[in-house]
Symmetry: C2
Subunit: 216 residues, 2 copies
């Protein structure tokens, strides 16, 4: 499962490229939203945010079967799915070396529709990725709902991971400048207190598994 | 500056489409990372994270002049730039209605290279978007650094904004289920305390404008 170096190698900053499959899994498992490329008939690209989850050696994502863009993907169009986590700002002495700490995973390939019983399992993976513990309690999808949901599976065959971390890398000539430099880290987005639906008909506490999301 | 409805209208969930230019600006101004589509010679799409800033009726983003993908954009390839902000999890009674609160801005078009004196101004906009106050203190880009940085400008002519908010929208048949439902909001990523560079040669406090990022 080595990434193809022809299409996914990082030519600009090879030091940032990570060849480790565990690093790919870590980025995909930590993200909540992926951005997927889709082309229309005129080769105009679109970048669409999607909910997703990694499942073994694939990444699963879903959309509506009524979406023309998802139909194009299901028909075998080449795509790219990217997950980016922003970890901080790198405040270098020069504007040129100033940048961001980030982890970004890019997966290239052709997605295939998930069909039959596997579609329900795939939806469970996506739901549990975003909302651990929810699948068992929520009302399961009906056959009609399952039919209205296009689930696509993209194999983790051709991918790259870039990780930018560490202190500013200022040029030697800049180190004597009387200018503060450093890193300002960014933490993951924190959860706020759950807000019950206004039309709740039962006296139900926020479930423990929902409260636990805040401590992820 | 109305968006072209042929390519950017939201067909799936028209209620979520926002036609307001102020909403577009608000999403672009609140985001830190955009995802940009680029095609290679074989029409394989890539989705690349970039630093960006809105400047009036354009969005500016940059990359290396050595990047083949950025060269393709500079040569006039159609692109799409998307900024997505995740605002919360919508925990509906059914799996099918469970979703996310988000704001997503998509801009379609052809980017043009920013040249001459405008390139420095564009880099200032991008730097100040991410790191307000920094431009005036950091060492300005040299002519060589300016030449190595490709800055692209994408006009805000053809765009769409989708906003998903509000409580879960469960089907009437599901409202009696004894299942908790609600929204779990997500706050923006908080800043951690600044970490000075290990090779700082002067006794400098963290600048006030850097401390102020935490209160944005």
């Amino acid at each position: 499962m080595e990434p193809s170096l022809s299409r996914t190698s990082v030519r600009r900053l090879p030091a940032k490229q990570v060849q480790d499959r565990a690093a790919l899994d870590a980025v995909l498992d930590a993200g909540k939203v992926a951005h997927v490329a889709v082309l229309d008939d005129a080769a105009q690209p679109y970048v669409v945010p999607v909910a997703y989850a990694r499942a073994g050696d694939t990444v699963l994502f879903h959309g509506s079967t009524a979406s023309r863009l998802f139909r194009s993907l299901a028909a075998g169009a080449s795509t790219c799915l990217t997950v980016t986590l922003l970890d901080g700002l790198v405040v270098a002495r020069s504007v040129f070396e100033s940048s961001m700490h980030y982890r970004s995973a890019m997966v290239l390939g052709v997605a295939t529709p998930v069909t039959g019983a596997a579609r329900r399992e795939a939806l469970e993976r996506i739901t549990e990725h975003l909302m651990p513990g929810r699948w068992a309690e929520a009302r399961q999808p009906s056959p009609k709902e399952l039919a209205a949901t296009q689930v696509l599976s993209l194999p983790l065959d051709e991918w790259s991971v870039k990780v930018s971390d560490g202190p500013p890398d200022d040029a030697a000539d800049d180190l004597d400048l009387p200018v503060w430099a450093g890193v300002v880290p960014l933490r993951p987005q924190p959860y706020d207190a759950a807000v019950p639906a206004p039309d709740l008909r039962h006296d139900l506490d926020v479930p423990d598994y929902v409260r636990a999301w805040a401590s992820q």
